[in-house]
Symmetry: C2
């Protein structure tokens, strides 16, 4: 059953992603079909709504990028899969880049509650890369993971802003870095 809280958070996630974090409470509540009174009964502020909406979407975001439990894939293939999924997502209508990076860029405030959720989500991406890099025998797994997240964020931001069409670019870049790090 979808609760009022869920409906508010889903509407918030879509609206903030499409139009940015500066969208006001009026627009948010109107779009979600929730009164301001109800919103403020559920959350202390718009900032808290934004943070909770990002947190609610994180498992789905991560599931979409990951290769899942297929044991036949090598660590290298699992890493490249993330970039293939990113490239596929970037061609969908309405794609605006990684929502977590966008929130960090827009808020310009590492102490904002939503920045903390965004940072934790991005850190899990890097940690996933690091664990796979280690399994794949990378010389310096954390360094490779940080490189891969740079490429991921650059690719998602540029494709989301419509200044780049990835079409293999992010995946080839990740593959070059895997080669350099000795992950065959």
């Amino acid at each position: 059953m979808t609760t009022t809280r869920d409906r508010l958070l889903d509407a918030a996630a879509e609206l903030f992603y499409r139009d940015g974090v500066s969208i006001g409470v009026e627009t948010l509540c109107r779009t979600a079909g929730v009164s301001k009174r109800t919103m403020y009964q559920l959350f202390a502020s718009k900032d808290e709504v934004l943070a909770a909406s990002l947190e609610r979407r994180a498992p789905e975001y991560e599931r979409r990028l990951s290769a899942g439990p297929d044991d036949s894939l090598t660590p290298r293939a699992r890493i490249l899969h993330v970039f293939e999924r990113l490239e596929a997502a970037s061609t969908e209508p309405g794609y605006q880049g990684c929502p977590y990076l966008a929130v960090l860029v827009e808020l310009k405030d590492p102490d904002h509650p939503a920045s903390k959720v965004a940072r934790a989500t991005k850190d899990r991406l890097t940690e996933g890369f690091r664990a796979l890099a280690e399994q794949g025998g990378a010389r310096d797994p954390l360094f490779l993971a940080r490189q891969l997240t740079l490429v991921f964020d650059g690719a998602s931001a540029r494709a989301g802003a419509r200044v780049e069409t990835l079409d293999g670019l992010a995946t080839a870049t990740a593959a070059a870095l895997l080669d350099t790090a000795g992950v065959a």
Copy 2:
């Protein structure tokens, strides 16, 4: 001599960079010490002020990243220099990432006049990389240049959001891509 137009554009560049593109006309004019009447005599809209402020800063932005006319540097060294300058800039107080990428992420509208200025500025970065990659004998100069801009934008966004401390990371990543492309 600094004109009223220049004063407005310098204040706009700093304010939009620090606080984002959603800053209002009131705040902008107050910070610049310019009346709204004067602003609207000079520019049709806030959007035009934003676009002109980005355009005004572009030559200085490009000068800071480039190695200048020192003929002793190889194409590879010139490319790496851009990443070294990015890394140095990212440690300065108030660093919020590349202003042109930030505007693209925040506006979410490729047709906005400021998005067009931002895109043109980023395209010149890629074109600079491409020309150097060609001089350096890269197998596919444009592909390498697009990879380098991915890394540049990922690095500047992550460092600007305070979720990464570059400290050699962007430069090492660029060097690995140069190696892969055969630019010695």
